[in-house]
Symmetry: C2
Subunit: 557 residues, 2 copies
């Protein structure tokens, strides 16, 4: 009989920040029983994924082995960890385990997609353990920037793995559990085969700062403001929402939450008993009647998202609110790389309105939710694993984190998405490379990364498009009235003539000369037309457009 | 006779960082004689300008008054100040004044576009002054991150303006002139009506650092490297190139410059006698034969530009060079906001190769070329102007800089692009708002910002495109074979059927039912088809595509 083995296979999140999805398996080769840790999304951008709504990890590998999947475990409620459950549950049909707050969010996602929310099972915290085939899994509480984050203690016959999820070492996280070093030490004391560890902040050399440091800075800022005070932050950072609201309350301001995510998060936190003493809030309708100097808005959109409350407020009226000179707008957040321009656009709009913008430039109004380098070292020491497997990072983060592990005398393994590691041998070993990638939620369907749909969009955006309609009669003669229609190309060429007209003329000349063999062959005819159109475009406007050719063949009457 | 007045009108650069173009005028209203300071470009991005090559300020206002334009003055050789002269000289036909190094670069741009380089006139430094109609203009040397930067001393009958250009206060800039406070004080001593001042770093609160601080950090870094050492920086930062090359030479490495801009800049600096003792360099061909531990490449592409040397090296072989484990790659640069993802892509590629990436994260290997807030204060004091007009910044920079001026007891005016200020009265006054904007260099033609060309590209990228070809016979009956072709849309709908087929079927049903009045009217027919296609797309794949309809009307034989 084949020897049992313990495997680790990231399908998303290792080699990028986003769409986390990590597989663990135990059993004979090819027959391992599997669990999935996290099922997150990533966000599209115009550069690589125009028109796409949401990006999912490609979990085909797992879907092809559904009969071997025991369960899904979600470490916490951030979109890059739980965002995929709504989209993929229909295919996955596997019980989802999570702690209360996370489970609340996951259930909402299933309901949104018309799935039964009872597929989400609320987990108690470690030392409680959940059986999942050969695995036993415990949710080990850890501090992060959202309530009830957990690391996973994953026991298998080949030993214990600690999968940190996202975390920081915060002794006073304002809302939720402080980092409990004793509990972690206890969880590790029987020996840890592998620490699969968050790498986001491995390049940040100073010790991480506590969420509790923010509130004392917020209070004087809000107290000294004169007009309307608006603050934006990550909606899921319930602790920050509380610190902000308390600063507002202390300054005699009514608190109004704006933006769907803001309401969803506080609702879930209240439902699960995590947020018991949040200051009383007013609705946007009530807020409209409150003098601006007595009002504080806490709004979504800290990353410049165009439809979120921050962007709307920066463009004009939103729910009857309109910002003006003398108001203050606080970004109690950092700008995630890639969002700089969108955030700057909001700041500039606000500046044009005369609104004073306050950012975290001096490190006063935001702290990170991820462990910095010294805190990573602390967790390496605390858990003392045989192997450190960095995750939740781009390749450079994984590599740096693995080097850090090696420098501390442990084995560090860089295992990007698709790398299957065997962890049950003496040393970790790459045993397979699995095809991974991204699946796009595009409108109401799923589109594969390599389907060409998005590639075609990018090409049209870069090159413009010429559409040519041509008719061929039943004698394989091309009729004279070939039509060219242009999109995303200049209408007139350098000489002032219509570009479409010039193409039509050129094609007319070409098509008049071809033989019936070419005219009778769709492929040859299309090829000729594409080349002709591109030649004119290149000569006249210096572009090489995409070309769509519609050939209509008239049947004999 | 109308009273003479002094006006200031930014056409680019005030309200954005990029495409600088500032007009000054003096004379009776509507008859002012004009000069233009700087004529730069901005760079396109996929979000707002897909497919565009270069962005120019829309200088139509100036082109409509060409008979009143005396001259163009270029403060320094950065692309956002000089990059437009090649593209626009054909229209502008006005002498261009610049100091030697800048003039060298400007001449190359004219030559590239087939224009006479003698239109660029080399200027001597202040106290030399150039007559330009009612103006006298002097090039006041100032330190920046490119050789021979100058502020402009602009004299008019209504007083002196100092237009700083880009600058920093650097007592030891490695290459070129140190900031000369005495000279600036001398230039200001007769009184300064307005200081038109760089705002880039107004949010940076610490004092600026000197270029000379970088070299001592570079030397030990290069000395301790073992494999190939590659450094990237802004090609125009000739001082940095020298510091890098000297660090390489000190470590016994041959220096090889890679990338067109790198060679163009050093060539110009050598030609103009600015760079006299640069270490000897080897060609990429020679470099291929040198052991990697004895070689240093200085390459373009610090901002992640996809075709520059850095990106090429991160993707594989480039001029016979291939990076590998043990090599070092230094970003002696900062990442300009918006370029984060492109730069990270290179770093991750390098990480995958096992190359050690060193950045300026700790502030060791780069210094900014712009004056920080305390340095701006110094220049305000030194020149003691009646009015401070912030430029070279987004709106938030301009506003902050104006507030700084006010806090120091001077008048600060926020005047974004298109704001015409009169500076000859007792207080600065907005006298006009001029239509401004951006012109796109797209292939070989110029495209207007509002021509719809780029808007159509963005829409195709976001929504995909359906092309419909329909034929109508001479009795205004729609023929049966309507064709749909899709680009950038999923081929199959959720139910597994072909989306194009479903659209064709839907249209066939619709078109069979219409009367000849609709079929006979292109507009009505098109409208019907667009709606039909969008309905199917919305129902089946949740998208709302762009639609191109080609109607062919068959003539009676």
């Amino acid at each position: 009989m084949a020897r049992d083995r313990l495997i680790y296979l990231p399908l998303g999140g290792a080699g990028e920040i986003g769409m986390n999805a990590y597989v663990y398996g135990y059993g004979p080769e090819g027959k391992e029983r599997l669990i999935l840790v996290d099922l997150g999304i990533a966000f599209p951008d115009m550069d690589s994924t125009p028109g796409v709504d949401v990006i999912l990890p490609d979990i085909s590998w797992l879907l092809d082995r559904l009969d071997r999947v025991e369960a899904v475990f979600i470490t916490h409620g951030h979109e890059d960890h739980v965002g995929g459950v709504g989209h993929l549950f229909r295919k996955l049909k596997t019980p989802i385990h999570a702690r209360r707050f996370t489970a609340n969010l996951a259930r909402r996602k299933l309901v949104e997609k018309g799935q039964d929310p009872n597929n989400v099972i609320t987990a108690e915290a470690y030392p409680a353990m959940i059986d999942a085939g050969p695995f036993r899994v415990g949710f080990l509480p850890v501090s992060h920037s959202i309530p009830e984050s957990a690391a996973l203690v994953i026991d298998s016959p080949a030993g214990r793995i600690i999968h940190t999820g996202d975390f920081k070492i915060d002794p006073s996280p304002v809302v939720g559990e402080p980092f409990d070093a004793d509990l972690w030490a206890e969880a590790a004391k029987g020996g840890v085969r592998a620490l699969v560890c968050d790498s986001t902040n491995v390049f940040s050399k100073h010790e991480g700062r506590s969420e509790a440091e923010v509130a004392p800075n917020l209070k004087p800022l809000v107290a000294s403001a004169t007009g309307l005070f608006v603050a934006t932050t990550f909606a899921s950072n319930v602790a920050r929402l509380r610190s902000l609201a308390e600063a507002g309350e202390a300054a005699g301001r009514s608190i109004c939450l704006m933006g769907r995510a803001m309401r969803r998060m506080t609702e879930a936190a209240v439902e699960e008993g995590i947020l018991t003493d949040f200051p009383r809030t007013v609705s946007p309708e009530e807020a409209a009647d409150i003098p601006r100097e007595n009002l504080m808005l806490i709004v979504t959109g800290s990353q410049g998202e165009r439809r979120a409350a921050s962007a709307q407020l920066s463009r004009g009226k939103y729910f009857g609110m309109e910002l003006k000179e003398g108001d203050t707008f606080l970004f109690s957040s950092k700008t995630i790389p890639g969002n700089e321009k969108d955030v700057a656009r909001i700041m500039n709009n606000l500046s044009e309105m005369g609104v004073d913008v306050v950012t975290d430039a001096d490190g006063l109004y935001h702290v990170s939710g991820h462990a910095n380098r010294p805190d990573l070292e602390t967790v390496h020491r605390l858990t003392d694993p045989q192997v450190v497997i960095p995750m939740h990072g781009e390749h450079r983060h994984l590599r740096e984190h693995a080097k850090l592990a090696e420098s501390l005398g442990r084995v560090g393994v860089v295992a990007p998405n698709g790398t299957m590691l065997e962890l049950s041998g003496n040393a970790p070993k790459v045993v397979d490379h699995v095809e991974t990638g991204r699946t796009y939620v595009d409108g109401s369907t799923l589109v594969g990364q390599f389907d060409g749909v998005v590639r075609d969009r990018i090409r049209m955006a870069l090159n413009g498009l010429a559409v040519v309609a041509v008719m061929v009669d039943d004698d394989d003669e091309v009729l004279e009235d070939t039509w060219v229609d242009l999109r995303g190309l200049p209408e007139v060429a350098g000489n002032g003539a219509s570009l479409a007209d010039m193409m039509e003329e050129h094609l007319a000349g070409q098509l008049a000369r071809i033989d019936t063999r070419t005219a009778g062959d769709d492929e040859k005819l299309e090829d000729l037309i594409v080349k002709g159109v591109r030649k004119v475009a290149q000569d006249e406007v210096g572009k090489r457009p995409e070309v769509t050719v519609l050939i209509t063949r008239l049947a004999a009457e």
